[in-house]
């Protein structure tokens, strides 16, 4: 169920979700994912991993493993030409810390890769892996941010445990805080969670013709081909990455997973090598979401208007940086949410610990802070005795307002409309009344889409017609199931009138496609969509004069629809695209174009904490109704409504699907998902322990999609992949409070925690009652 408030549009065709090929293949069962491929003579690769979180590597003896029948290679750190899996690219030139492909002399987290085995069968590879003798001397480690920050704490890396510190802010928050009528000082804690995409990390690598090392792998980023070349000390032109349609990504396939291992084994053996990670090793050792501890001091006047914010965020970066610097930057840059504040100080810190590295995951630091900034509003409202929505409305940002970083919001801000829509939808149905405790809550957010502007993002696309009038699009996007490929076809269709059935799109190949940048940061529609819109317009501009000449009309009278061109006033005079293209080529007008979309640029000064960050934002509001069982603490989500302004809908089903999927992940994040690490040992390594919502645990997720037409993406669209994951936890926390009067500040809000809070609250009340009686 969804409603739109759309301006009248000339082209109606994008409203019809024509079935794109990949979706037909998915429902047929014929789509080949990364592990659905094999090559003759293919070997199987396995990773040997550390079983302690903090240790010195005394020795790794591979002799017995090498001798095992069927084994073709056993590699350790010494076999890696340039042993750098990642070297922090914070984008702002901070000190770098290297994450090796294979550990050299230290183990820094439970599950860290130590060696690689390739063998003729999976069984032989696994058996041989067991025969690798690893001698580790356990050394003291730090397993929490608190432990890592303590004086004299063991250092995870040479330069100490604080990896990076960001500052965003302006004005004079200390003086402004002194003027406050009320200061709300609260601390919030979030947990490690896993992407838990259903398709495991998988891929196959081989040496192709011309000696090109080729990988066919489930990845969000084909540009990693350059890093693989560097690891192997090959020319970058000699490595090719082909991204398969992923069985889910969510940021967990944004950093390399199997790629460096497969590349090394394939290169060493000169044979095709396949690797698939088990779910257990994925849950154990693949990067997670940053747990954040967020302390917010918010000063307000008597009406609830925010006068000052002083925010400190600590993120557990785990054993290696990966994308921690960028995640903690996003936390700082977006910590205040969609609320105005002139005097603000925000500091975020990424701290190393001897636990699994943390990196990109849908929301990327900017989603955890929503729990904090929304709960702050609720606290303010409660203590002032005002409705929370009123406090929100007093403080909402609007177009032209300056953010904590000093930059102004330059597109339409629709957060208040989103809140209105959610309220009226929630209120239209009375709350359930079945004898248990029911409550409702809302939350709002603004989530960045597109990479930070100081990164100078770009995406390229090639588009051309075959002589028969069918269209070819080449664009290096990767498709993680949100219709990245299909969207490009639809955008081209808007401009050129081509139909889905007569368009072929080639994606995800670093050798054969113009590079478009990876699928993350809610950037793909914005960047590759704009590139495709741009190149489609260039192609149309090339062909339009030819069409106008053939049809005897003016260029701006041409109507491009259903694979034909015709004059507006004579719609029956249809020129087939094939005929147009053949005429054009005959005149020397080549029917293809290549174009690069350059995102706007800007700069950010880390010293002053001011400058430009994201190019734009997607605004939203969510509302939820829950039922809380006081005896068990179990929270059941009864109703959920989510409203976002996406600028322009390219595909209704896909926009709604992104919202619903993100909300589902948010519900798991809010209530049940938790990677439990005890003394550095990750104990959550089975789906049986990692509790994601199943179908009966979610209601219908109602979506309200607004189209305000003023986004910076193609045709005015905004990114929608990440924004809907933000408001969920706070909306649910507020609903729990509405139901049973307790407010949790730690995620997930498991039954144990909810019940504990209810009991603590009850005994506090009982104590007060007793005291009152005594008096």
């Amino acid at each position: 169920m969804s409603e739109t408030l759309a301006a009248p549009r000339q082209e109606q065709r994008s409203r019809r979700d024509e079935l794109h090929r990949d979706f037909v293949e998915k429902v047929s069962g014929s789509l080949r994912y990364a592990d659905d491929w094999s090559m003759p003579g293919m070997l199987h690769g396995v990773v040997v991993r550390a079983t302690l979180p903090s240790a010195r590597i005394v020795s790794i003896d591979t002799e017995q493993a090498r001798l095992f029948p069927g084994v073709r290679a056993v590699l350790t750190a010494a076999d890696v030409p340039h042993n750098v899996a990642s070297e922090d690219p914070s984008g702002l030139g901070n000190d770098s810390v290297v994450m090796p492909v294979l550990a050299v002399d230290r183990v820094r987290y439970d599950g860290e890769p130590l060696a690689l085995v390739a063998a003729e069968t999976q069984e032989a590879a696994e058996a041989a892996a067991q025969l690798v003798v690893v001698d580790l001397e356990e050394i003291p480690g730090v397993f929490s941010v608190e432990a890592a920050m303590a004086p004299g704490a063991p250092a995870v890396h040479a330069n100490g445990n604080e990896f990076v510190q960001w500052h965003v802010g302006r004005g004079d928050p200390d003086t402004a805080m002194e003027q406050a009528h009320l200061i709300v000082d609260e601390t919030y804690h979030t947990q490690h969670v896993d992407h838990a995409y259903l398709e495991p990390e998988s891929g196959i690598g081989w040496i192709d013709t011309d000696g090109v090392l080729t990988l066919r792998v489930s990845t969000q980023v084909i540009e990693h081909a350059r890093e693989l070349a560097d690891i192997l000390q090959l020319p970058q032109s000699k490595v090719r990455v082909i991204a398969t349609f992923m069985g889910g990504g969510f940021g967990g396939k944004e950093d390399m997973t199997v790629e460096p291992h497969v590349a090394l084994l394939a290169w060493k053996t000169q044979m095709p090598v396949r690797m698939v990670w088990s779910r257990q090793e994925s849950l154990l050792a693949r990067q997670k979401r940053h747990p954040l501890t967020m302390r917010y001091r918010t000063g307000v006047d008597a009406s609830g208007r925010i006068l000052a914010q002083d925010i400190t965020i600590y993120g557990n970066a785990g054993a290696y940086p990966m994308l921690s610097a960028r995640v903690l930057f996003a936390s700082a840059a977006h910590a205040c949410g969609p609320y105005q504040v002139e005097d603000v100080r925000i500091r975020s810190h990424a701290i190393f610990t001897n636990t699994v590295p943390t990196s990109a995951f849908r929301g990327f630091g900017a989603m955890q802070v929503v729990f904090a900034h929304e709960q702050q509003i609720e606290h303010i409202a409660e203590r002032l005795g005002l409705p929370a929505d009123q406090v929100r409305r007093i403080n909402f940002v609007s177009r032209g307002v300056r953010r904590p970083s000093g930059e102004t919001l330059d597109t339409e801000v629709s957060v208040e409309d989103c809140l209105d829509q959610v309220r009226s939808t929630l209120n239209s149905v009375p709350a359930a009344a079945n004898g248990v405790r029911i409550g409702r809550g809302v939350a709002c957010n603004m989530h960045p889409y597109g990479r930070n502007v100081f990164i100078a993002d770009r995406a390229s696309a090639w588009m051309g017609f075959e002589p028969d009038g069918t269209l070819v699009i080449r664009c290096g996007v990767t498709d993680l199931g949100a219709g990245q490929a299909a969207s490009l076809v639809q955008i081209a269709s808007e401009i050129l009138g081509t139909t889905v059935g007569r368009t072929t799109v080639h994606i995800g190949d670093s050798a054969l496609n113009p590079l478009a940048g990876g699928t993350f940061a809610s950037r793909q529609l914005y960047m590759s969509g704009n590139a495709v819109e741009q190149v489609a317009r260039e192609l149309r501009d090339l062909l339009a004069p030819v069409a106008a000449g053939l049809l005897g009309t003016a260029i701006d009278e041409l109507v491009w629809v259903d694979d034909t061109v015709s004059p507006r006033t004579r719609p029956d005079s249809k020129l087939e695209l094939g005929e147009l293209v053949r005429h054009a080529e005959g005149m020397g007008v080549m029917p293809y174009a290549h174009s690069t979309y350059h995102a706007e640029t800007g700069s950010f000064d880390p010293k002053t904490g001011t400058g430009r960050t994201a190019p734009d934002y997607t605004y939203g509001a969510h509302g939820v109704e829950v039922e809380v069982d006081e005896a068990t603490g179990l929270v059941k989500v009864l109703r959920y409504v989510a409203c976002h302004d996406v600028g322009r809908i390219i595909s209704r089903n896909r926009v709604e699907g992104q919202i619903q999927g993100a909300v589902a992940q948010g519900v798991g994040y809010a209530l049940s998902e938790d990677i439990l690490i005890e003394d550095g040992s990750n104990t959550t390594t089975l789906f049986a322990n990692y509790l994601m919502p199943t179908a009966p645990q979610l209601p219908d997720i109602e979506t309200i999609v607004l189209e305000r037409h003023l986004g910076k993406g193609p045709l005015g669209a905004r990114g929608i992949g990440e924004p809907p994951i933000g408001p969920v936890a706070s909306a649910i926390a507020s609903a729990i409070h509405d139901a049973v009067g307790v407010r949790l500040a730690t995620l997930p809000m498991t039954p144990e925690r909810v019940r504990g809070a209810i009991r603590a609250n009850a005994s506090t009340n009982a104590t007060h009652t007793d005291e009152a009686a005594v008096r």
Binding site: D17, L19, D22, F23, V24, E25, K26, V27, S28, G29, S30, L31, R32, Y33, D35, D36, H195, A196, Y197, L198, E199, P200, F245, M246, G247, G248, F250, V276, S278, R279, Q280, L480, G481, A482, G483, N653, R654, E656, G657, Q660, G661, A662, V663, A664, Q665, L686, F687, A688, M692, T694, A695, P696, L698, D700, I701
Partner: protein, 161 residues
């Protein structure tokens, strides 16, 4: 370990294999059976992506040993076809309703739903959700999957009349 010869039929096609007693059925289906539409998501029977029909009933093929399936009739999602339409209308409903995003859970979902729909018509949305509790989806939040199943149920209702 010694191997045991087994034969089974996958979507009507005979498959022969020589398996160790501990070899999971899902491996035989994907390797000797060349049925790549059967997925491996967790290997512990939680996610449901390895769902197939064994002698007509849905099972997690990662939890069944191949030797237990000797002589069995296995149906995978590619075995679910419509002689008239080509694409089975339940699959078409999934595609049209946006019930498949990454598609990895889809084979298991479709098989499970179709099995239930043959046994119960006119189920409520909550009942449909109960049917799917053994099939995880990480992309869709399940709403559109329920939409697709409900729509196919109604569609069958209309063609029954």
């Amino acid at each position: 370990m010694n191997t045991v010869p087994i034969t089974l039929r996958v979507n009507g096609r005979p498959v022969a294999a020589s398996v160790t007693p501990n070899r999971p059925l899902v491996e035989v289906l994907r390797d000797e059976g060349r049925s790549m539409d059967v997925k491996v998501g967790c290997g512990e029977g939680v996610c449901g992506t390895c769902t197939v029909l064994l002698d007509g009933d849905p099972i997690n093929s990662c939890l069944v040993f191949a030797v237990q399936a000797d002589g069995a009739e296995i149906t995978t999602v590619q075995g679910l076809t419509d002689p008239d339409e080509g694409l089975h209308p339940l699959k078409r409903a999934f595609a049209e309703h946006g019930a498949a995003q990454c598609g990895f859970c889809t084979p298991g979902m479709v098989l499970t739903a179709e099995w239930h729909l043959r046994r119960k018509r006119g189920a409520s949305r909550d009942e449909i959700r109960e049917w799917l509790k053994g099939n995880l989806c990480r992309c869709t939040g399940y709403t559109k999957i329920v939409d697709a199943i409900e729509s196919y149920d109604r569609q069958m209702e209309e063609s029954d009349v």
